[in-house]
Amino acid sequence: MKNKVGLAIEELHRAESDLAAELLRASDRHKVGHDIFYLGHDLARWSEQHVHKLAEHGRNYGLDLDADDSGLMATIRRRGAELAGRRHDPGLLLLKDLREIHRQAAGVSLDWEILAQTAQALKDEGLLRLSQECHPQTLRQLRWANASLKTNAAQIMVTP
């Protein structure tokens, strides 16, 4: 049992870390779209905090997860390298990035659901509190990606 929960925490830790990296990467790539730039950073901070809290709670399940952003930076570098050399219409690239953020945030959201259900079954109050604290922020990240995509899509798509 403990092992499975540990795996779920580890998986969410990785997914939050990836989401933070994705937000920062999109943010830096769309610096000229200033709201994406600043909000990307603000919203990545939530995921970074979640990563930290998951690492802390992971200890109860015998996990040794990165609490800081050293793993995060490595992920950003790796992803950055993957992209080198690609060329896109910057508008379409923005839509693609927002779609990716939305997809990842949706995954994170489901992972939090799993943890919350598990915590209730295990009566692990700490874990339940953690998911109640963090999950709403994931949902806000998700809604932001959706809203931002909606705001930008028309102009990007109809412009010749």
Binding site: D35, D42, R140, Q141, R143, K150, T151, A154
Partner: protein, 814 residues
């Protein structure tokens, strides 16, 4: 009766009064030198246009020329008083610099032409782009200084005719956050308060609102209460030692960018001490539990650290709010143009909601406006919102607007929220907007990061139309310049920050070929041959009164209901507050009486947004949260500012205004008394910081941010430590550079950051990291006014700001 130097005495003579008593009348009159009231041929009713207060006045005309102004004793707003900008500002109408002929760009230069040539160029380019690239290549950027009739016509043309989503006003820079905060808390724009709340309040809390300089007559009203029996106590939140701070019982001077932390601590104290009107909150609001949870950890010690404000001062401030019996709260740019703008302004609404202090005499909220007609920009949809506070996310309301306009609902863009100005500038930058029609505003000085803005507006592929009364910095970059008429030269209505509607009559003809903005918009619509769904002309009116009647039909049944008003009802007496309809034929002094709001899901203007991400709340979510249309108590977490000070840029720069100027000085810079009172840019620094550097009053400093640099003379003032202040009024039209800096930067917005509030989309002008260095030692003091927040610290030898005989104003006390 006597004369008084109103440059030296901006608020005039005191007329003290006590709680609940009528504010005494004091009629202020200013006429051209040598004239008396007996010399005046005729008086024409109007109201003030160089701020948002909406003071009733009459325009004096002699020999077909405006020669002065006189406050209207009967007006509910000002009881006869006028501010310095109004008393002297009329002279700008007569300036020799007025645009008197359309201009078009030929071989890189603007040359004079006739209306036919200029307007056919504008209409032809619009039609070409509509054919080639569609309506999303067209943008409109207007102001907070035209008349209601003009905004409504423009909104109809842009939304109903052309079908673009790219419409905004410079109210985006000014009071978009006022609208956003009201929508968040009450489901709709519309000021809960009334200026008469000043007469009754026992505590007046002013948040980032230097009312003494922005609305001088409203401050006179407060000063008269302070001078009378049972004066109200004042809470002032401002990083500068403003006249309001001087008069305050408690003055909090927070570090710029930390308003939400400060507000959350005040709310924490109110909750912790149980200064909450639970009966009111239970009956009339949703969201209290979330707020209590959010502020539970935000104690005063936490905020004291973040805001750099003493914890005891925070406690004292909370006590004032918590123990008030009649609390009036007002908010302006210190919150609206700063980090987390809407989140902070909403917390002010929350204070009044928790205290149950709304809709009763003395209990109000004024999310203030900055410009005279900003309220109309918002009501009429010239800020991109749908007219009549209709909700773009509510299909029934879009259908209703389509009925009023007789167009198909799909013609009115409502697939996402309207494109805000900063996003429009981005679309101009990326080339997807190719036509920008700017009316009555000067983005080349007023937008953040001017180097970028000049580049964006100077692009070859952009067709830039500027409609203005002077050749502003922006007009100098235009392809076509259209000369407009202004206040006193055209008829129309406008509405102030407490919902008071005034009629402004045409007193004289505009100069040369200049035309009223309404006539220019109507000409444009005719040339585009805009039609409704039955093939009839889309715009059915041809004069201001016709447009007003059109607006009455559009606003009927909506919160901003004008259906009970007519031009003749507005003539003669006082301004009238909306809603004005069959039920309230004399207007409505206070809204939200007895906890009734306009926030029902089917009726509200907005379902709200996430205060951090700006993501709109979905209709279903809103219905679940607020099915019964109560007020919404919305909590927000504090986020650190986006550009904190660093080793390279150790100061925080805030920008703002002075009493003697309006916006980019297009008018006030051409008025001798006002220009002399504040002739050039200055920079403010605290005595503590200037002592560390060893700098003195008048030294020439260069202040820089990551975006650019500005040179200005030092005024050692009462501003908080580690913080710098620059007034934003000073551009380049009266310098060799013309549209931009020839050598040295002078405009504060060379320095500001391109960043905006996620919710209101208002740009942030009040928190940029900056460094400062000295270029040369003073050869005299800086020329900042000494009567206002820029007052020098004690002991400095600086000549007092005086207007002398040229600034004499007649005061008549009744």
């Amino acid at each position: 009766m006597g004369t008084i130097d109103r440059i030296a005495e901006p608020w005039g003579t005191r007329t003290p009064y006590g709680t609940g008593e009528p504010w005494p009348v004091r009629v202020d009159t200013r006429l051209d030198d040598g004239l008396t009231e007996a010399d005046v041929d005729a008086w024409f009713q109007s109201a003030t246009i160089l701020h948002s207060n909406g003071d009733g006045l009459d325009i004096a005309v002699k020999d077909g020329r405006i020669v002065g102004v006189r406050g209207r004793a009967t007006d509910r707003v000002n009881h006869g008083r006028l501010g310095p900008k109004d008393l002297f500002g009329y002279q700008a109408n007569n300036s020799a610099d007025r645009l008197t002929s359309p201009l078009v760009r030929r071989d890189g230069r603007l040359v004079e032409t006739g209306w036919e040539t200029a307007m056919s160029m504008v209409a032809d380019r619009t039609e070409e782009l509509l054919k080639e690239r569609g309506p999303s290549s067209i943008g409109f950027y207007t102001t907070g200084q035209l008349f209601l009739e003009e905004y409504y016509t423009l909104a109809l043309i842009a939304h109903g005719g052309i079908g673009t989503n790219h419409v905004d006003g410079n109210t985006r820079l000014c009071t978009a956050t006022a609208a956003a905060a009201l929508k968040e808390s009450f489901g709709s724009d519309g000021q809960p308060g009334s200026y008469t709340d000043v007469d009754h309040a026992d505590v007046i809390a002013l948040y980032g609102h230097n009312v003494a300089e922005t609305q001088t007559v409203l401050w006179s009203r407060i000063l008269d209460r302070l001078a009378g029996p049972n004066p109200p106590r004042i809470l002032c939140v401002d990083p500068r030692r403003t006249p309001v701070a001087e008069a305050a019982t408690v003055h909090l001077a927070p570090r710029p960018g930390t308003n939400v932390a400060l507000m959350n601590a005040l709310l924490h104290e109110i909750v912790a001490n149980d200064w909450v009107d639970h009966a009111y909150v239970d009956q009339h609001a949703v969201g209290f539990d979330e707020l209590a949870k959010q502020v539970a950890s935000c104690d005063v010690d936490w905020a004291a650290e973040i805001c750099d404000v003493p914890a005891d001062d925070l406690r004292a401030a909370a006590r004032l709010l918590g123990q008030a019996e009649r609390l009036l709260s007002t908010v302006l740019q210190g919150f609206y143009q700063s980090h987390q703008a809407t989140a902070a302004a909403v917390q002010v609404n929350n204070v009044n909601l928790l205290r149950g202090m709304l809709g009763k005499p003395g209990c109000g909220i004024l999310q203030m406006n900055g410009q005279p007609t900003a309220q109309n920009t918002r009501e009429c949809g010239a800020d991109g919102d749908l007219p009549g506070f209709r909700n773009w996310a509510n299909d029934e309301q879009v259908k209703d607007l389509a009925r009023v306009w007789n167009v198909e609902p799909a013609q009115i863009p409502h697939y996402s929220e309207p494109t805000h100005l900063m996003q429009m500038m981005r679309y101009v930058e990326d080339g997807s907007i190719r036509f920008l029609y700017v009316s009555g505003t000067n983005p080349a000085v007023s937008l953040p990061e001017l180097g970028r803005i000049r580049d964006v507006l100077s692009q070859e592929r952009l067709f830039l139309v500027v409609q203005d009364i002077f050749l502003s910095e922006t007009a100098q970059l235009a392809d076509v310049v259209l000369p407009a008429a202004t206040w006193g030269e055209k008829t129309g209505t406008f509405t102030n920050a407490d919902r008071t509607v005034h009629l402004s009559e045409k007193a004289v003809d505009p100069p040369g070929q200049a035309r009223p903005d309404l006539d220019i918009f109507l000409d444009y619509a005719r040339r585009l041959d805009l039609r409704d769904k039955d093939g009839e002309p889309l715009v059915t009116w041809s004069d201001p009164e016709g447009a007003f009647e059109g607006w009455k039909a559009c606003s009927a049944g909506r919160p901003c209901d004008y259906s009970g008003l007519t031009y003749s009802k507005l003539r003669g007496g006082s301004g009238i507050q909306w809603p004005c309809n069959d039920e309230h034929p004399d207007g409505t002094e206070r809204i939200y009486v007895d906890g009734e709001f306009w926030s029902a899901p089917s009726y509200c203007e907005s379902y709200g947004k996430d205060l951090v991400t700006g993501a709109p709340v979905e209709p279903v979510e809103y219905k679940a949260m607020n099915p019964d249309g109560k007020a919404v108590i919305k909590a927000a977490e504090y986020l650190p500012p986006h550009e904190p000070p660093s080793a390279e840029f150790p100061y925080l720069l805030t920008t703002g205004r002075t009493l003697y100027h309006f916006h980019t000085r297009t008018k006030t810079g051409r008025v001798p008394q006002l220009q002399a009172a504040a002739p050039d840019v200055w920079i403010e620094m605290s005595a503590e910081d200037s002592a560390v550097h060893g700098w003195d009053e008048g030294d020439l400093l260069r202040v820089s941010t990551a975006r650019g640099g500005v040179e200005a003379r030092l005024r050692v003032s009462g501003i908080r430590r580690s913080t710098l202040f620059l007034p934003f009024h000073y551009g380049y039209w009266d310098t060799p550079g013309g549209s931009g800096p020839a050598e040295r930067g002078r405009a504060a917005n060379e320095l500001t950051i391109t960043d905006w509030d996620p919710c209101s989309k208002q740009p942030l002008f009040k928190s940029a990291a900056a460094r400062v260095e000295r270029i040369s030692v003073a050869d005299g003091p800086s020329r900042a006014p000494t009567t206002t927040a820029s007052r020098p610290v004690a002991g400095a030898s600086v000549p007092e700001t005086r207007g002398g005989a040229a600034a004499a104003v007649l005061e008549r006390l009744e």
